[in-house]
Chain length 192, copies 2
DNA sequence: TCTTTCACTGGTCACTTGACAAGCCAACGA
DNA sequence: TCGTTGGCTTGTCAAGTGACCAGTGAAAGA
């Protein structure tokens, strides 16, 4: 690959990563392309140059976020021994992902509350597969949606509102032992 | 009370109610005072007249939302028979409140992700008491925060992203039997 | 009855927003 | 080597944004 092409990809990646942070922090409406540019260490014009619209950038950010998590999930689940403990460990892994990337939860909530383009895109492109897995996991057609959203909520909320959790309970959700305790709590909750 | 004072209170209440919807829909940054005014059936100037700043209006909306839910929760818990089923029924009630007022979840997430004035206000004014109750309920000092956020997430997310849930799973979270099924699911989850 | 009060309206303000366009210059290709 | 490409910067634009203010008219008080 040429120097220029490499530089281009590198810059785009930096902007997308900054966009993930910004959209998670402020929501789609609240995040500004200027703020994203600053986080990426450049200027607003460059964001418009690489991504035609703000919505395009959001889609790129959602893709990056979801693909990264899907890959990591698949990789970590792969090396798991089968048996009764497998289900619980799967849940622990899912909780750890939520802890490392609270942006996932924010994208889900921010896009999911309206029936719009962003919600449709998330559902069609990324969520269908993940939901199908949970549905197969529960086996229960009737309660699949309930299990899915209860799990996602129980796993992600703590890390999504980490500053509030710190102020309210004194618990720092970024600490490793807190993450592990939550992973264990959720795992035992859903697989007693 | 005079006609004017009554009218004033009525108008303020209308604006606050519109603000709850708007802030839940778009977040603090995304919601505009003009949109709030339109939802309330008036003009932007009147919003500024009744509430000095947008942040003031947000605080009034948060108060209204939290007080309403605290009252309802207390009232419904009051008539509950003691016994082994009491814990489960408490959880069902909590889920039903989340279903009726998904705005609660959105306020929590929107304010809770940053260490700022709104987050502090929510914690100090409304959340402390509620968390203390959950902590007393679990009895377990070590896991109180984990139980609290797992419960809040598991109860609220489904209704907070109802449009997404509909598109993803076909389940309409506004239907009464879906609400009851989720209430039962969460209740059995936390009190097996 | 007549003045005062005040909830409410319409319009203006400085400022921010996303999108766009002209120019710059190092990397590229001939 | 020299013209071209294209990533990038700077500046500009219309469309909002929250806050503010003078004016209005009906209710309240004298």
């Amino acid at each position: 690959m040429t120097t220029r092409a490499l530089q281009r990809e590198h810059t785009r990646a930096r902007i997308v990563e900054a966009a993930i942070e910004a959209f998670a922090d402020r929501g789609f409406d609240g995040a500004t392309t200027r703020d994203i540019a600053t986080r990426a260490g450049t200027n607003q014009g460059l964001v418009s140059y690489h991504f035609e619209t703000k919505a395009d950038l959001w889609r790129a950010a959602a893709d990056r976020l979801c693909n990264e998590l899907a890959e990591r999930l698949e990789r970590e689940l792969d090396g798991l021994p089968s048996g009764s403990e497998r289900a619980r460990e799967s849940l622990r892994i899912f909780v750890r992902l939520n802890a490392q990337r609270p942006a996932l939860f924010h994208f889900l909530v921010d896009a999911g509350r309206h029936d719009g383009d962003r919600m449709r895109y998330l559902v069609e492109t990324h969520l269908r597969r993940r939901f199908a897995e949970v549905a197969r996991f529960t086996g229960d057609e009737e309660h699949a949606a309930h299990a899915y959203y209860a799990l996602a909520g129980a796993s992600g909320l703590l890390f999504a509102v980490a500053p509030e959790c710190r102020a309210l309970t004194g618990v720092d959700a970024s600490e490793a032992d807190v993450i592990e305790r939550h992973a264990d709590y959720v795992a035992r909750l859903f697989v007693p």
